[in-house]
Symmetry: C2
Subunit: 193 residues, 2 copies
């Protein structure tokens, strides 16, 4: 459900083709809400049917075409309504913590391998998000630049501050996962001794 609003958030900045949108998506919101291309294109079609966005076919070269999308008034309204509505929180479903609860069922080495992979996984996410934080600070993220270009000066600080706030939360989450898994490694060692 949120994919729709992630796409609207990007399109609200200005018209984009599906392809460009997808590119921008993977470089910005995609770090918070992943979606493959095979989901993005159909979703855009659905949003068009619902009147949230409008697409115009453009020619490109001899026979090529591409579809430029822009947000309609209804789409803009839908986005703001979503912002104001309560989120529906998904129930917890965390495979790593599930497995952690039963580590006594396997060997210490296997437990260690699991925890090391957990650390590697979150370190990889962490570096993505820290990179985004750096790009926010340097105002080097192309989406953010586009956004700031159409944002009144008075709102620029807010725009940047909330992006930063969001990524800070993700960075802290990753750091917490890593710290937890490291403690797990120490625990395995202690119990193995």
């Amino acid at each position: 459900m949120s994919l729709r609003y992630a796409l609207l958030a990007i399109l609200r900045v200005g018209p984009l083709s599906g392809y460009d949108l997808q590119k921008q998506f993977h470089q910005s919101v995609g770090h918070v809400w992943h979606a493959p291309d095979s989901q993005i294109y159909p979703e855009l079609r659905k949003m068009e049917q619902l009147g949230l966005i409008e697409g115009e076919e453009q020619t490109r070269g001899e026979r090529g075409t591409r579809r430029m999308y822009h947000v309609t008034e209804a789409g803009d309204r839908a986005f703001v309504e979503w912002m104001d509505a309560p989120l529906d929180y998904q129930r917890v479903r965390d495979p790593a913590h599930l497995r952690a609860a039963y580590l006594e069922a396997t060997t210490p080495d296997s437990a260690r391998a699991f925890l090391q992979r957990h650390i590697a996984q979150w370190e990889s996410e962490l570096s993505q998000w820290e990179g985004e934080l750096d790009r926010i600070d340097a105002v080097a993220n192309p989406m953010l630049v586009r956004r700031l270009a159409v944002t009144a000066d008075a709102d620029r600080e807010r725009t940047i501050a909330y992006k930063r706030f969001a990524y800070e939360g993700l960075v802290e989450r990753a750091q917490a996962e890593i710290a937890w898994a490291r403690r797990g490694l120490a625990l395995v060692d202690r119990l193995d001794a």
Copy 2:
């Protein structure tokens, strides 16, 4: 996919009827991996077809029946294999952080409401998990008691320690989410001033 192993984890302790399993589930693993009954019963049937568990129909009263399940050797093997295999991490998809990144699009009050709901949400999870931690320490969780009853003394410490470790991770996550949202409230106030 993990639902299967969450169910196996419970059944490995000893045979249970679908109904009892479901009860135990909601009181234990369900805090880490939620699933509704409408998913549990069919999954048990599927697992039976795959030979991971076996069910026997028992009569109950005059006409009533219930199905007692126990783990097969293949099921036991499958569980350990899952423990040793790399987890497949889902891509990030976090509606709260997605929304946080665009809070400038709405009013300060709406932003505050969002953050306050976020805090309430995680405080509710937090109290669940802290409760579980207490029950682990008091050895008062019925599933844990059943498990310890069939666990060799040498493994009891490990069994308890890993449960604790898992729930500690969840508790820390909840605390981090709450702290983050509180900082968000402060940020809204600052930007609103």
